[in-house]
Amino acid sequence: MKIVVDFDACMSNAQCVRAAPTVFEVREDGFLYILQEEPPESLRAAVEEAARLCPTQAITIED
């Protein structure tokens, strides 16, 4: 599973951070950072929830 974020669409609303805090982080500079671009399969449900909750649909999961 590979995570792709459209950083032009990302508004740093941090809904993904709530859903998958070990994968996504919004830092003090206001930008989103991906902590694991290819997270283990055990995090799939959390990452899917993060993608679903993103208000700007900026997160895509590739296979």
Binding site: A9, M11, S12, N13, A14, Q15, V17, R18, P21, V26, R27, E28, G30, R52, L53, P55, T56, Q57
Partner: protein
Amino acid sequence: MRSVVIVGASLAGFSAAKSLRKHGFDGSIVVVGDEPHPPYQRPPLSKQFLAGTWDRPRIDLRLPDTLGAEWMLGARAASLDANRREVVLDDGRQLPFGGLVIATGARARKPRWYAERPGVFTLRTLDDAIAIRDHVRAGARRFAIVGAGFIGSEVTATLRALGCDVTLLDVDPLPMLRVLGEPLARVCLRAHEAHGVRCELGVAVEGLTGESSVEGVRLADGRVIDADGIVVGTGVVPNVEWLRDSGIDLREGVACDAACAVKGADRIVAAGDVARCDHPYFGSHRVEHWNNGITQGDAAAQTLLAAPGDAAPHVAIPFFWSDQYDSKLQVVGLPSPTDTMHVVEGSLDAPRFVALYERDGVATAAFLCNSMHRAAAYTAIVEAAAREAAHAGAP
């Protein structure tokens, strides 16, 4: 259940369709939408889209190839016969359903004096946003914004950035007073004034001036504010009229239980701006936030698919954001202007701060200004407090 009809083709309806497929529904899905457009994002309409920095493809919602739904766009539902399990469109077509998702959203509320004429706008739909954008491109430079809530405030900030003169009007003495309470409403006022907005607050608008095209607005105190563009942002009305004869409780929206099931109906659910759902923590509320369309649409779909009595309550913590000038505002929870508010990080004079709302010593909401890195933490705080308060209050 072999067929689901979804009335409403914006985020809540779209989210319900996706959720039905995700949870294994392989019957037919028909989505009815009165706008001619496939689903798109509404939040950018008052911001990036109006500013011209994002174009149309940028705001479309991505439709999964595997959705397999039939989209009936530009079609309007006229009535629901809950006993015959049928939606009737305004052209007479009948859509029988096994399950129904009501997601007809809300429309801009128009004041008594509102008149359809060139230069007068509300902002709710893509077509509204295109009309305002085109009006600016055609040379309109002096805008009066009626209503200093979130839409009015965002449009004001965007039009200022485009170089327009803007007068912001509201019957309340401060912008966003009813949502945020006085201390934060003062911060919002300061931001508008710092960006050269003329604020005429605490005075009602009584009418428009100008005949064939608009020339301004007339205030209750007799003054006239000259303007060649008027944008009215005075709240929304849930789109429930088509359900008039359905027997459903429609006071303040479609009455639903905590799992988005319409009360007194079988296999009929509602989601998004039109739905007034019982919230396990916050009571019965109609929530107009964008993310509510995502989470309620999903919850409603799962309720349709659940065995009777098995549906799980939808417990998402309300969340919305707003971009105004150089500030990013986020609110989690449900603040009330009567809650006590205190600053927990930074200060109201600083470019970034966090404020917490409390009622009876319990956190009800958090307001974050340029503090996105703290959003997840404060959502957790508000959620824990709400859960605890709900359990303490349970019999």
